[in-house]
Symmetry: C2
Subunit: 336 residues, 2 copies
DNA sequence: ACTGGCACTCTGCCACGCCAAGTGCCAATC
DNA sequence: GATTGGCACTTGGCGTGGCAGAGTGCCAGT
């Protein structure tokens, strides 16, 4: 009993492997040619029948081979696939490449390209969440007579900016002074903790001066509240062209989703994986309709951010999972 | 003589229009069904023969309709196409949408999305070149014990940043003081004019302090020299899925090129159009092999930056050209 | 519990033939 | 001389039919 159960899983694994490799429904006979199963074709057929009853594989039509279902891929990933660790040269390559990034942005760009190249899938990385978000410095730049640029520098090294329309005619010195005052008030504070101190500061001003300063203070609060992790960097989109076989129908909505990013962000927030852990979502397990023909292998990194690869359900999960995991760890480390 | 020449061009135009609309080679008979040419099919056939001799159209195989060649599209664009101005609602929509961008980055993002939506092609915008590139402020942020973030704020409102590894163990006050010194030296200067003043400053330091300050100064020079217009923002990539008919072969290298950006940047620098002017490149007129099946309609905006749409050669040039031109003008205006 | 064998069912592919659309050319006409 | 109607010819696309290959389910035998 135990043994036949094992064999069924083994056969499922073989089916998935063959299907991934050949892209074609796999039958009992060709399965025997490529795998040492130690049983006859008829037995394989019986087991396949059972697997189909359990909803793990599926026949496109009578007298065709079998194709794994979403549920089939799922059990494969959960119970069959053995993660193959990366080779030493690969690890070294990752290490070297990420090491001399000269910027967080650059680090992410390298990461995502690397991930796309190693897995041959579409890779995406969420911008890192800011963990200790203390304000380092605020700078005001008058870019036009009635337009002010507010720059916010955090201690983590992140830089955010936004322009705000202001009343025309104020001299540059006015904003220099305002900047100094604001810095005195907000420097060293958490981004979440600006409203009260700024309110106090505004109250301390002579009444006629308040509205002008309030304009800037509001922008500052909004800027501090904006979450940069709401952006995603992507690479390897051309890989979807290679893997999709039914192009016109599948690819267009997929490219739309990738560009929209909103769906991907929801996806990321839905997968609350602890750093280093990997989560796999396959086909219908993904919320969005357009992603039903794809699978996503994601991992957490840093402080609650995510990275992932996206490809066809017919994907090499073993290397995908190990690569995503390894890269997530490396990035976490380099972010300190 | 003059008249038959005109008719030939008219026929070329009709062929291009029909081919763009139907995606199928167009023959003399179906041409008459859709256009009032005032002549018989035989005459059209004769003219088509001549057009083919001139290399403007081409027959996929004997007894098939005609398809425009690159040269054919070229003459169509140069001599036949009449630019249809945008409708009033369209203009208003552009105006409204671009008006309340709260950032240069945001403005570009809106622009590129708008362009993609209006033309149904892939749209791309080069980051604006910095015209008057005076330095407003330099900020140093210690993000780790041996890692320093250098932030450069320009008067135009651009913010650039880069991290640099530094010797460990220096107190934060050291960098605060260094920042103040550097600001005194570089504030108000052109980005191209930093080497000499910074050299003088370094020379003025006591010899043992020089290497430490030099580390930072070098990064600053490199940062100032880095050209941000070497980046491109893109939208509407899913549109290539719709327009390409022969997928597997065409789309993959195309997506690669779009991701690489290098080819696109070379393309942009190659088209030195004055702001507001439009340039069209069709098929083999484009340097890169992967772009031979596409056409690009580009325009200059701002101070020497570019924006463009990219689509199949079989593209609606009339609306493409007018839309690109209109948007380039709007963006130039909003950038002041 | 497996296995070998057998009858059955599809899909993919190839060959065939027909049709529609298109062409080129030529003699006739304005 | 330019234009036109007519005609013979070419060719890709499409539907049909037959055939081979791969696969299945089931059953009787070990």
């Amino acid at each position: 009993m135990r043994e036949t159960e094992d064999r069924k899983l083994h056969i499922l694994g073989a089916i998935v492997e063959d299907y991934v490799a050949t892209r074609e429904p796999v039958g009992s006979k060709s399965l025997l040619e490529r795998h040492e199963l130690g049983v006859s074709a008829a037995t394989v057929r019986n087991d396949m029948s059972l697997l189909e009853e359990e909803g793990l594989i599926h026949q496109p039509h009578t007298s065709a081979g079998r194709v794994p279902t979403d549920k089939g891929y799922r059990t494969f990933v959960d119970h069959v696939a053995t993660i193959k660790p990366l080779s030493a040269p690969e690890r070294r390559a990752i290490s070297v490449l990420l090491e001399d990034a000269d910027d967080v942005e650059d680090l992410l760009a390298r990461t995502v390209r690397l991930l796309a190249q190693l897995t041959q899938q579409v890779a995406m990385v969420q911008y890192p969440a800011r963990r200790q978000a203390r304000i380092r410095h605020v700078e005001l730049v008058k870019v036009a007579d009635s337009l002010l640029l507010v720059v916010l520098i955090l201690e983590s090294g992140r830089v955010d900016q936004r322009t705000v329309p202001v009343m025309a005619g104020r001299p540059a010195e006015y904003y220099a002074a305002l900047r100094d005052h604001l810095n005195r008030v907000v420097a060293g504070r958490e981004v979440t903790d600006l409203t009260a101190p700024l309110g106090d500061y505004l109250d301390s001003l002579p009444r006629p001066e308040r509205p002008a300063a309030a304009e800037v203070a509001e922008t500052l609060v909004a800027l501090a509240a904006s979450r940069a992790e709401d952006r995603i960097m992507m690479a390897g989109t051309s890989n979807i062209a290679r893997s999709a076989q039914d192009f016109a129908r599948d690819v267009e909505p997929l490219l739309d989703v990738l560009e929209e990013q909103l769906v991907l962000l929801r996806l990321f927030t839905a997968m609350h994986v602890s750093p280093g852990a990997v989560e796999v979502r396959i086909g219908s397990e993904l919320e969005d309709r357009a992603l039903h023909s794809t699978a996503v292998v994601g991992a957490g990194y840093g402080a609650g951010s995510h990275l992932a690869i996206l490809g066809p359900r017919r994907m090499d999960y073993a290397t995908g999972i190990s690569t995503v995991q390894a890269i997530a760890r490396y990035v976490s480390r380099y972010l300190e």
